[in-house]
Amino acid sequence: MEKYYLQSFAEAFARQSGLSQTVAEQLSKTFFDTILEGLETDGLVKINGLGTFKIVEVAPRESVNVNNGERILIAGYKKVNFIPDESTFTEIPSDEAFAILQEQIANMASPDEDASTAADDTPAAAEVEGIQLDAPQLENVEQPQNDFSAIDLLISTPESLDDLRAQYEAAKVRAAETLKAANEANNEKCRLEKLIAQLEANTPPLVAATPIVTEGEPAGTEAKPTSETPAEEVVQNEEPVKEPADTAPEALSRYLNDKPIHDEPEETPRRQRNWLWWLLIPIMGLLLAEVGILVHKYNNKQATPTEQPQKIKTTNPHPSTTAKPQTHKTDTLSQTQTDTTKTAAQPMRTYTLKPGDSLTKIAQRVYGSKDSVRVILRANKFPNPDNVPVGAVINLP
């Protein structure tokens, strides 16, 4: 990265062309002067191998003053537009974005060619990774050559260009190869992951009953579980079961107990633990029921006086809020209590729309949030919710 000025540029020019310093300086000076002159006279200068300079008028446009919001007119002006010549364009070698683009287009062109590339979206990510991993290598190879060719360019362009092109081709081939490898590796990875997941899903029940089978023949794992389940049920039936109605928790408890043990011979501690489970569950149930009854009784005493006024003033905008503190005070666990309060607040209130009302405003006022419009919309069937006529009576749940 070097900054040239007319002086240093003329020096470089003299060195390259073999002209004397003064001639080179004169030439480059007149060159740029003539460009300026041409722009002033014609408004257009075309130079072969460089491009076209053109004076373009920028139309006046309206804008807004940021400070006071007033509209202001930005005056039009003239500017010099430069369009580089076709010959000045050179491809940039080892370009990541280009490789990705090429891959994308290749995928687009043959979307249903083979299932492995089309079905998997994940390889695309792997490809990008592959490219990014590969990029530093390519750059490392390219960089010294670039410096070298930079000097080369001054003396002879075609040689270094060919050199660069050859390297570019090599890099291209290498990129394609690594892409392929990454693709294959990823496919393999996906397949193995699936296999592992399958095996993992199958192993736990097998470890409990027949650990040798899983180790011996992993291929037959898929068929095994079906033959395994009846045996397990037999074991369950042997156990002293108090409540045979729900088998799911039993299986769960069995599973939980099985996991840490891992060994077959130690069956007695497992059974003891199962006993504990079956003792604990009814006790817990009884306790919960007792608490529920107590809470219910306690609430009935308190709720009966408050429920009546609620029923009378149904137009009160906050009946639910008056009911809520009670439930908080007593116990959130008591389902029966909340059910009774719900039935108490159930009768729908109505509201007659006044001019200037909007459903969102009503929702904000009644429920405390604009999002609650949905509740109103659900409770009413408006032909057009955006335009409800004044005087319409709406339900407020």
Partner: protein, 91 residues
């Protein structure tokens, strides 16, 4: 002003042969383009700055074959006019 008139004008100013001028100018242009594409800039007083410019890789659609092609990123030369030139043009 096209290339011919440009060369003629330069030859007239320097008092040289037009054909000779053409070769010298193309050498100068070559140097300018190559130097700029290497990442160097050239600042010319009262005119502006020549600087490198990259065009990103893009996707191209060929309407006749109805296929997409990838166009590689390209390096070229850019020019930005100076403030003094702008003032001159708009005075």
């Amino acid at each position: 002003m096209n290339n011919r008139t440009f060369i003629d004008r330069m030859a007239e100013v320097l008092g040289a042969d037009a054909d000779e001028m053409q070769t010298q100018v193309s050498a100068l242009v070559n140097l300018l383009v190559n130097q700029t594409k290497m990442g160097n800039t050239l600042t010319v007083k009262n005119l502006g700055v020549f600087e490198p410019k990259t065009k990103a890789a893009r996707r191209m659609y060929n309407p006749t074959t109805k296929t997409f092609n990838a166009v590689p990123a390209k390096q070229t030369i850019g020019f930005k006019m100076s403030g003094t030139l702008k003032d001159k043009l708009n005075s």
